[in-house]
């Protein structure tokens, strides 16, 4: 026969434990959700980038990640406090008796018994026992005879988990909303930086030497610098140059090691190619789509491949296939080509990044020519192309910025004038105007499809030559109204311009 006081005490402890567990369960799911989301925010951002083409602003994403982790920890701590409070509240002798009373349907006999038999109650309460108390004691014993406290008070996790899942859903929803708020359409710099990072990851993943690791680090630094809007363009370029040099160094080392191998095993050891991105059209048979060598003559010109024998390189446009070498290629030829391809790709991306910096620099020449809040991202207050204030006047030096017809660009970084720019910042290179060509000949077409507006100039009155005389062309139609530049309608599309594949500066001279 159990002591009913002990039974109520056991029930009280169990109720308190269950209350604490339930309270904790309520907090666990939202806390874990917040922490998990905080930890996974970066991968989620990557997925967003890869799948949807949007990116999370890294600084804010980091802050959000920290906030989520912090919130999760706070909720967890709050859950612990709530569990402790629930335990204290649940560990009540009389309350446990009332719970037992309800479950066993005892008409408050157990709670009355507990009130008068509570070990922690003051003596004055126990003094209220009457001669009828033994009857109450016996009744309590009889009621507890078939009671199994563990079976009666089971841990039911359904309800707290349901409540908890609601909180977790709220946390997830808040996180989604916050993420949506942080999602940005990537700028060209972001895109380029992301590509560079991907290459860096690839290099780091397959690195076998410290040089590769250093190269990966340099690429990452260049990517970071590219995205860092606070860095001046010169510094960005410097970082990119460093990455390029590092890449060259790595390629050189690879070439040297390969060269030694070839000398030991092959007959043909001519290595005319000097790595990706540096080829100048001398029969580079290991191009990755951009190496348009004229013709490879003589020895195989695979910078990394182990080709032996002699032969004639295929004419240009090799895209990774070594067709120049006859004879037996070694087994590591493909790996070598792959490495070259990566190297070339890296150079291309770095060159693009550099061009991107230059473009950005050209579009943001300095504070003097910029409105104060011009962010160069489409949303800023760019000069209104419709404003009528830039009308060239006859005799004025308004034509100073127009590229000279037939002339050669002094500098291939000429981005044109600020009166007639394309939206990528490049003015078309004009050659001799059609009207100066001989009949039947066609000059180079001027690609002005991306121009926002076109400025044209009517020829002035012909001046008299030394032997001729001035003849007035009275039949020439003359404008009856004043002419102005006819600006195109302002674009309403706030989206950033489409990415364009820019030709690296070093190749521009090669393209006509």
């Amino acid at each position: 026969m159990d002591n009913p006081v002990e039974t109520i005490g056991i029930a009280s402890a169990r109720i308190a434990r269950l209350a604490a567990i339930r309270a904790m369960l309520c907090a666990v799911a939202p806390a874990l959700t917040a922490i998990a989301l905080g930890v996974l925010l970066k991968p989620i951002g990557n997925v967003t980038w890869m799948r949807l083409g949007y990116r999370l602003a890294p600084e804010r994403a980091a802050m959000l990640s920290l906030a989520l982790i912090g919130a999760g920890i706070v909720v967890l701590a709050a859950g612990l406090v709530m569990a402790f409070l629930a335990y204290r509240r649940g560990n009540d002798f009389v309350a446990a008796a009332a719970e037992l009373d309800d479950r066993l349907d005892c008409d408050q006999e157990i709670v009355t018994f507990a009130t008068l038999a509570d070990p922690s109650a003051p003596e004055s309460i126990r003094a209220r026992r009457t001669p009828l108390f033994p009857i109450l004691w016996r009744h309590a014993i009889a009621l507890f005879a078939s009671l199994d406290v563990r079976r009666e008070f089971r841990l039911e996790v359904g309800e707290p988990l349901k409540r908890s899942s609601i909180f977790a859903g709220v946390v997830a929803l808040a996180m989604v909303l916050a993420t949506l708020g942080l999602v940005r359409a990537p700028t060209p710099e972001n895109t380029e930086a992301a590509k560079l990072r991907a290459i860096a990851e690839e290099i780091a993943g397959t690195s076998t030497s410290s040089d590769d690791s250093a190269l990966a680090d340099k690429i990452r630094e260049a990517a970071d610098a590219l995205e860092n809007s606070k860095l001046p363009p010169e510094e960005k370029k410097e970082r990119i140059e460093e990455a390029m040099q590092q890449a060259d160094k790595a390629a050189q080392k690879r070439n040297n090691s390969q060269s030694g191998k070839n000398q030991g095993t092959g007959k043909s050891n001519a290595q005319n190619g000097n790595g990706a991105g540096k080829s100048q059209g001398h029969g580079n048979s290991a191009g990755a789509g951009i190496g348009e060598g004229k013709s490879g003559t003589g020895a195989a010109q695979n910078p990394g491949g182990e080709s032996s024998g002699s032969g004639k390189g295929a004419t240009g446009k090799d895209s990774g296939k070594n067709e120049g070498g006859k004879g037996s290629a070694k087994n590591d030829k493909n790996d070598q080509n792959k490495g070259d391809q990566s190297s070339i790709e890296l150079h291309n991306e770095l060159a693009k990044a550099e061009a991107q910096v230059e473009t950005a620099n050209a579009n943001n020449p300095g504070p003097d020519n910029q409105p104060a809040d011009d962010k160069h991202q489409g949303g800023g207050s760019q000069p209104d192309p419709n404003r009528p204030g830039i009308i060239p006047k006859p005799g004025a030096n308004g034509d100073r910025n127009i590229p000279a017809a037939g002339g050669k660009l002094k500098n291939n970084k000429d981005m044109g004038s600020n009166l007639g720019d394309t939206h990528l910042g490049e003015m078309p290179t004009s050659t001799n105007a059609q009207r100066f060509l001989k009949p039947g000949k066609k000059g180079a077409t001027v690609d002005i499809k991306d121009a926002r507006y076109v400025m044209f100039r009517l020829p002035g009155a012909p001046s008299s030559g030394s032997g001729g005389k001035t003849v007035l062309d009275t039949d020439r139609p003359t404008a009856t109204t004043g002419y102005v530049n006819a600006p195109l309608a302002p674009t309403s599309d706030d989206a950033p311009p489409d990415e364009r594949q820019l030709v690296p500066p070093r190749y521009r001279d090669m393209i006509h």
Binding site: D102, D107, L132, I135, H139
Partner: protein
């Protein structure tokens, strides 16, 4: 049947209480048809040590009921018909000059209030002065005449009746005095079956006779023992809090007062109401074979214990809102938290 001796075991005492109560009900039922709830409340009030106010039209058997109860329990019974010219001395007694052995002296002649069970018929017809004389005796269980205090023998119970009709020339009991009655029960008209039974019992030749449960000499002591047993029934602290919440819920402006209470009541029950609730609930618990009070015991006692302690305002009168309906609302509202 003998009285439950004090030396008997607790179980035996509880069993005797239930048996005596049940038999008293049965004996009264031999002469009173129906009104079982009223009889039960009358016996409950007796064992609680309180008094009872019975409201009903004339001719429903109120006097017979009280008389039957007193006869069953072996207690003395007196009836007072209250009239406007009834004086306090007519009730409590007076000093009468008597002559014996050549000496004249004042001798106290006790009035009809000196009995175990006193039926005050139509108490609202007496003047307030007379009413207060009775009410003082009810509260103090003693009367004072010319400076001499006379204790009323226990058990003492006053059963006052009120006629809800013919209210001209009546003096309705003040609320403060109504508070001294532990219950107010309403005696309704008998149902057709009951009326037929009444006719057959009272107009025939056979008459049912009541078997007293106690001898007259032992009855007061036996009843007092049973009253002591009632007070030994235990009440848990949560149930005391429930009673307090009920009283607060019925008090306009009190803690937990429901909107209907604030809207329709001028005053709520006094602490006597809470005492009445507990005592009545204890009797209910004993009758259920328990030695501790349950929520149901309290709920059963709320309406008869508190209905005459609520003072309705004009709006309630105008809208025909009864105190019973307000109490039902209170029970409904307060029952939720504990289930």
């Amino acid at each position: 049947m003998g009285a439950a001796p004090q030396q008997a075991s607790p179980d035996q005492r509880v069993a005797d209480f239930r048996k005596i109560f049940s038999r008293a009900e049965s004996e009264v039922a031999r002469v009173i048809v129906g009104h079982r709830e009223v009889v039960r409340k009358m016996l409950t009030a007796l064992f609680c040590g309180g008094h009872i106010l019975i409201e009903g039209v004339p001719g429903l058997g109120k006097t017979l009921m009280v008389k039957a109860a007193s006869e069953t329990l072996g207690l003395s019974f007196k009836r007072i018909q209250f009239t406007p010219d009834l004086m306090p001395s007519d009730i409590i007694g007076t000093q009468v000059l008597t002559e014996a052995d050549g000496h004249r002296e004042f001798q106290f002649k006790p009035g009809p209030i000196f009995a175990h069970m006193v039926l005050g018929d139509e108490i609202n017809r007496a003047t307030p002065k007379t009413q207060s004389a009775v009410l003082e005796a009810m509260e103090e269980h003693q009367v004072t005449v010319f400076g001499t205090t006379y204790v009323l023998d226990p058990p003492y119970i006053v059963l006052a009746t009120e006629n809800p009709i013919e209210l001209e020339g009546t003096y309705p009991l003040p609320e403060a005095q109504m508070d001294r009655f532990i219950f107010k029960v309403v005696l309704g008209s008998p149902k057709p079956d009951e009326l037929r039974e009444i006719l057959s019992r009272t107009t025939g030749t056979t008459q049912n006779r009541i078997q007293p449960l106690f001898e007259a000499s032992r009855a007061p002591r036996a009843i007092e023992d049973l009253k002591a047993l009632v007070r030994e029934v235990m009440v848990a602290e949560p149930l005391e809090r429930y009673i307090i919440s009920v009283i607060g819920g019925c008090t306009p402006g009190g803690p937990g007062a429901i909107p209907e209470v604030s809207q329709y009541l001028r005053f709520g029950p006094s602490p006597r109401g809470a005492q009445a609730l507990i005592l009545c609930a204890k009797v209910n618990a004993l009758l259920a074979g328990r030695v501790s009070v349950s929520y149901d015991d309290i709920d059963d006692a709320i309406v008869p214990c508190l209905r005459h302690r609520l003072l309705l305002n004009f709006q309630a009168e105008a809208e025909s809102v009864s105190s019973e309906s307000i109490l039902e609302q209170v029970i409904k509202r307060l029952r939720k938290p504990r289930t």
